[in-house]
Amino acid sequence: MLVGLLVAVGLIYGGSGSTAERVFILFAINLVIAVGLQSFMGLTGIVSFGHVAFMAIAAYTAGILTSSPLIKESSIADAPAFLRHAELGFLPGTVVAVIFTCVIAAIVGLAIVRLSGTAATISTYALLVIVGVAIVNLPTLTRGNQTFYGIPGSTTLAAAIAFAVAAVVVARLFQDSRWGLLLKASREDQLSAAGSGVDVRRVRFGAWVLSIAIVAAGGSLYAHYVGAISPAAFSLQLTFVIVTMVIIGGRGVSGAMAGAVIVSVINEIMRQFDGQISFGPIETEFASITPLILGAIVIAIMVRRPSGLLGDREIDDLIVPFTAKIGRRFWLAEDSKTEG
């Protein structure tokens, strides 16, 4: 089953030229975040506006740990000494960042899993705001509103692909596991699931922490690609883009992938049209219409297929019957000719 998914991921990353490479890396980063978010949203049915907050926490943590002490002497001169002198490699830094983020996520998660529906969604939005405020109000560590620069650009195409594949594998394993099954049951009918003995809070907690672990990895990946981060990057706008990917694509991991592809493609297309468009007296940059297009698509999807394009299905569910059909046609042609 997983093979089908991995092949799809692998095939996509065929080419690379320098501009194509940039697009692919960004796509891979978005994919990791989207898959992470989907691991929570798809399985619990709760919309989370807060995952980007944890992406931010991980990005800052990893960034602080991996940047060179020389830079930190001037950029965050008042930070505790062990942070200023630290210079971890990309992977160790990421691991530490992920663990740290997960600890915070676990603490917060204890509260979040007690809520359902709109209350949960509002609380996740609250997290986004709180983390944003925290980042701005800890300038000794984060340079507050200003850009935190000097993060080594360790994110190569290979690294991005590796992270993306890992994220997809982890997410898929989780969803297909017993844990995932219990979650899907509680998503469909919370009361019945609880009645059948599912500890809804516990399974949600697991999904929460795991999804944030994935998102955290993505955050570190992001930080090491752009090299400079600021609180503005982890905004409601970004949250909307990621949430859109998950919603458009559907509730499975393949859905998140499909959503990421579609949204990235749209973004790129909108950027290519460099110039302005005009409706009579009105002129504007083409690219700024993107939210409108994304919004319209989201509404269209919600009206027609509320479960997203792929719904609960994964790529293998689609490919296997497809190849089987082709196989049958090919091998049994003789028989069907004599039949008909």
């Binding site: 709760i46 919309v47 969604t121 509002i122 609380s123 705001v129 405020v133 994304l294 509404i299």
Partner: protein, 295 residues
């Protein structure tokens, strides 16, 4: 802080809280009837603002204000007819997302049509003027805000209690199916609900924007967020809850603004949201909300 300053802040809090309460009530009305949280509610505020921008100075100001309210009410109805109606019956989460997407669309459209720079709104001069009682300086706009909100609340309550439409609304909010059996037309009720929420949003917008006297495509975001918080905390289906929470939120904001040192101003938001999470944990349906309502 001496008494005058204290009174000053009380007036500020009342004024701010009234605006939040109006937005909260608007959201609550739609939630009670249509079972959805309308994220695009903020855009109604912005639309009212642009209407004022276009009309102030060209028509007498009462006309401009009435027009702005009418336009917001109309816009809300259009939102319902054009978009929300097609997603009927879907779970509240889907509706929330749709309204969120809609709000982004409207913001982008406004950005395209009006540009991103702030447009000045020419409020009549008495709005920005103030008068003094002893050592206390009170701005007329704050007085107007409190007075108008109070009047609106009173008339809204009477309307809901005494009129036929009000009765139909309350019945549908209580139990839509039974109301339908008893002859209440659900379509009319929903349109009425959206129209009322639009009018309230327009009114809130007029008063909110009086502070900055300008409007941008994203002007509606802040009142929406605050009104939304107040609505959730107070209980989405409850009028009293929305008012109390709105006023409480306004008070909290003013208190924090005065208590915290300037460097920590952003912290206000953070603390408010922490409080939200805590309250939601203890009472997910809001302080005055009824248990069992799917929030």
């Amino acid at each position: 802080m001496d008494t005058t300053e204290l009174l000053q802040q009380v007036v500020n809090a009342l004024s701010l809280g009234s605006i939040y309460a109006l937005v909260a009530i608007g959201l609550g009305v739609v939630f009670s009837i249509a079972r959805m949280v309308n994220f695009a509610h903020g855009e109604l505020v912005t639309i009212a603002g642009y209407t004022l921008y276009g009309l102030f100075g060209r028509v007498p100001w009462p006309v401009a204000i009435a027009a702005a309210i009418a336009v917001s009410a109309g816009a809300a109805v259009i939102m319902e007819r054009a978009v929300f109606k097609r997603v009927k019956g879907a779970d509240p989460v889907a509706l929330l997302i749709v309204s969120f997407a809609l709000s982004l669309i409207i913001q982008t459209v406004l950005l395209i049509l009006m540009g991103g720079t702030a447009k000045p709104i020419g409020y009549p001069s008495w709005v920005q003027a103030s008068f003094t009682i002893g050592q206390l300086t009170v701005a007329w706009r704050d007085v107007a805000t409190c007075a108008v909100t109070f009047a609106v609340l009173v008339s809204l309550t009477r309307f809901l209690r005494r009129s036929v439409v009000g009765l139909a609304l309350r019945a549908s909010a209580e139990d839509q199916d039974v109301a339908r059996i008893l002859g209440v037309d659900p379509r009319r009720v929903i349109v009425a609900a959206f129209a009322i929420s639009g009018a309230l949003a327009g009114l809130a917008g007029i008063m909110w924007l009086a502070n900055s006297a300008s409007v941008t495509p994203t002007s509606g975001f802040e009142p929406l967020m605050n009104g939304f918080i107040a609505a959730v905390l107070g209980g989405l289906g409850s009028l009293t809850g929305a008012v109390i929470a709105g006023l409480g939120l306004g008070a909290l904001e003013i208190v924090l603004r005065n208590v915290l040192p300037d460097s920590m101003v952003g912290l206000t938001d953070g603390l408010v949201f922490v409080a939200i999470i805590l309250i939601l944990l203890i009472r997910p349906q809001g302080i005055f909300g009824k248990v069992g309502r799917e929030v």
